[in-house]
């Protein structure tokens, strides 16, 4: 019983972090049909930048903000230099290009920060007690923070002027252009926002398991799964799917080893693709 409770908390917390990662990925895919292979590596880079900023300033919030801004800028540069030239070409080329970028980022991080694991210390110390269990406060704080950030993103998209631009461009790029919306700029901005979300997730996740060069791939893979299960381009769906898949994995980890628990999400993905390809959390298209 205790195990189930702990795993539920794990699932929820991990789900919120994953939701942040997936939201960036699904935004990017929804608006410009790009499957960003490097998304997890942007997360990893953000975590390293965050760790460095933390090391210099000792302030968690500065680390979070700094990482988000730096990686947002990097994302914008990447999009303009390597992805913009590929617009209109076979989607395969963008997958390959982002895969190439992913390799470069991984090795760069290795070169810049070395192979040892970096630490991001917990922003909120101590545990809280649930029944007779101890659960770290910072994990709860992380989930809440992720929720707030996602809420902010949702508000921005729903009510801001630029949010409308983004949503219009996602639905009909050509008509958005005809209305004077500068679509190339919107693309760059969305890629930057997605990158910032990934970076912030990296800093949030830092205290959980340390910061290493390879932490990105796991997230990329899971984020892909969640984006497909939630419905590609569907922000709300990917958030729900993140929590759903994370909970399933957490429960599976009770029975099998964590390395094997990941197979659960694979199975969910495959089943979704076979039977509900538009997404599990999307109403059946008419």
């Amino acid at each position: 019983m205790d195990q189930i409770l702990v795993q539920t908390l794990h699932g929820l917390v991990n789900g919120m972090v994953l939701a942040m990662v997936a939201s960036g990925l699904t935004l990017i895919f929804g608006i410009m049909d790009i499957v960003n292979f490097a998304h997890g590596d942007l997360l990893m880079l953000g975590a390293f930048v965050g760790a460095s900023v933390l090391g210099v300033t000792g302030n968690y919030w500065l680390a979070l903000l700094g990482a988000a801004l730096v990686i947002a800028a990097l994302g914008a540069v990447l999009q303009v230099t390597t992805l913009r030239p590929l617009i209109g070409r076979d989607p395969l080329t963008t997958i390959l290009a982002t895969f190439g970028i992913s390799l470069v980022i991984q090795k760069y991080a290795l070169w810049q920060w070395g192979p040892s694991v970096r630490r991001i210390s917990e922003p909120v110390p101590g545990d809280f007690t649930l029944f007779h269990l101890q659960y770290p406060w910072y994990r709860i704080a992380t989930a809440v923070l992720a929720g707030l950030i996602l809420g902010g993103l949702w508000l921005f998209l729903k009510y801001g002027k630029y949010g409308i631009w983004i949503r219009a461009t996602t639905q009909d790029r050509v008509m958005a252009q005809a209305m004077g919306i500068p679509v190339p700029l919107v693309y760059t901005a969305v890629f930057a926002i997605g990158s910032a979300m990934a970076a912030a997730s990296g800093v949030l996740f830092g205290p959980f398991a340390g910061v290493t060069q390879t932490m990105g791939f796991d997230f990329t893979l899971r984020a892909f799964i969640v984006v497909v299960v939630g419905g590609m381009g569907n922000l709300g769906g990917s958030i729900l799917a993140s929590i759903f898949v994370s909970l399933l994995e957490s429960y599976a980890a009770i029975v099998v080893s964590p390395a094997q628990a990941v197979i659960v999400s694979f199975v969910v993905l495959v089943l979704t693709m076979l039977f509900r390809p538009t997404g599990l959390f999307v109403p059946t298209p008419k």
């Binding site: 409308i164 949503r167 639905q171 009909d172 958005a176 252009q177 005809a178 209305m179 004077g180 919306i181």
Partner: protein
């Protein structure tokens, strides 16, 4: 104001427009008639940069449109109401309007005024302003598409088959709108298959066939001699 000189266009390898020359002067309503598939919509799309212009020139107020990015046309004063309407289905009516309303240089007062003006033209849109665009009826979507174009305070509206698929009552409403826009001094390039409406609304008419302009006359002339219409449109 809007001048197409000898314009050729291609979709991929298909040569779809042949030496099209059309002119719309400031404040004019000009009609573009022709059967299905003769290139009327393609002409509008070529102006909007969606078909590849491979010959000739398109100028607007003397400025060559070559090299103007697709999102720059709205700023120049060219608005487009496409054949399929293409309203943003998942955005509300108001959000649809805001895609044009939230332009640079629009003060809150001007925005309020423009919105109110459009609501007086289309009261039903005011009523449905918080509804998703996709839930509107065909006629309402057409009105939204036109209203959205008006948000750009354009000098010219490229209006593609606004009455297609609409009931007679709505058709009359569209006719009213076109007259009102004309009174406001907005030029209109009206693509239509509805001949009586076009002859009524437009001063001059071009008739197209097989990707080229075959005939050009004033509406008065065409009304007087129905043979030309019969020949090209079989009506």
């Amino acid at each position: 104001m809007l001048v197409l000189e000898n314009v050729d266009a291609h979709y991929g390898k298909s040569h779809v427009l042949h030496g099209v020359s059309i002119e719309v002067r400031s404040g004019e309503v000009v009609g573009l008639l022709g059967r299905n598939g003769v290139g009327k919509t393609t002409t509008l799309k070529t102006i909007m940069g969606m078909a590849r212009r491979t010959g000739g020139r398109i100028t607007f107020e003397g400025r060559d449109l070559h090299g103007v990015p697709p999102h720059g046309l709205a700023g120049l004063g060219i608005a487009w109401v496409p054949e399929e309407r293409r309203i943003f289905r998942l955005l509300t009516v108001l959000e649809n309007l805001r895609t044009g309303l939230d332009r640079a240089g629009m003060t809150p007062e001007r925005r309020e005024a423009l919105l109110e003006k459009v609501y007086t033209y289309f009261p039903i849109l005011k009523e449905r302003r918080n509804q998703a665009g996709g839930t509107l009826s065909g006629g309402e979507q057409q009105m939204l598409a036109i209203a959205r174009a008006m948000m750009l305070e354009p000098k010219i509206i490229l209006l593609d088959e606004p009455t297609e698929g609409l009931m007679p009552r709505m058709v009359a409403q569209i006719q009213e709108i076109v007259h009102a826009l004309h009174r406001d001094g907005v030029a209109i390039l009206l693509v239509e298959q509805n001949v009586p409406l076009t002859l009524d609304a437009a001063g001059r008419v071009y008739i197209m066939e097989k990707g080229a302009v075959r005939h050009h006359a004033s509406s008065a002339e065409l009304r007087a001699d129905q043979r030309v219409i019969h020949e090209y449109l079989g009506v």
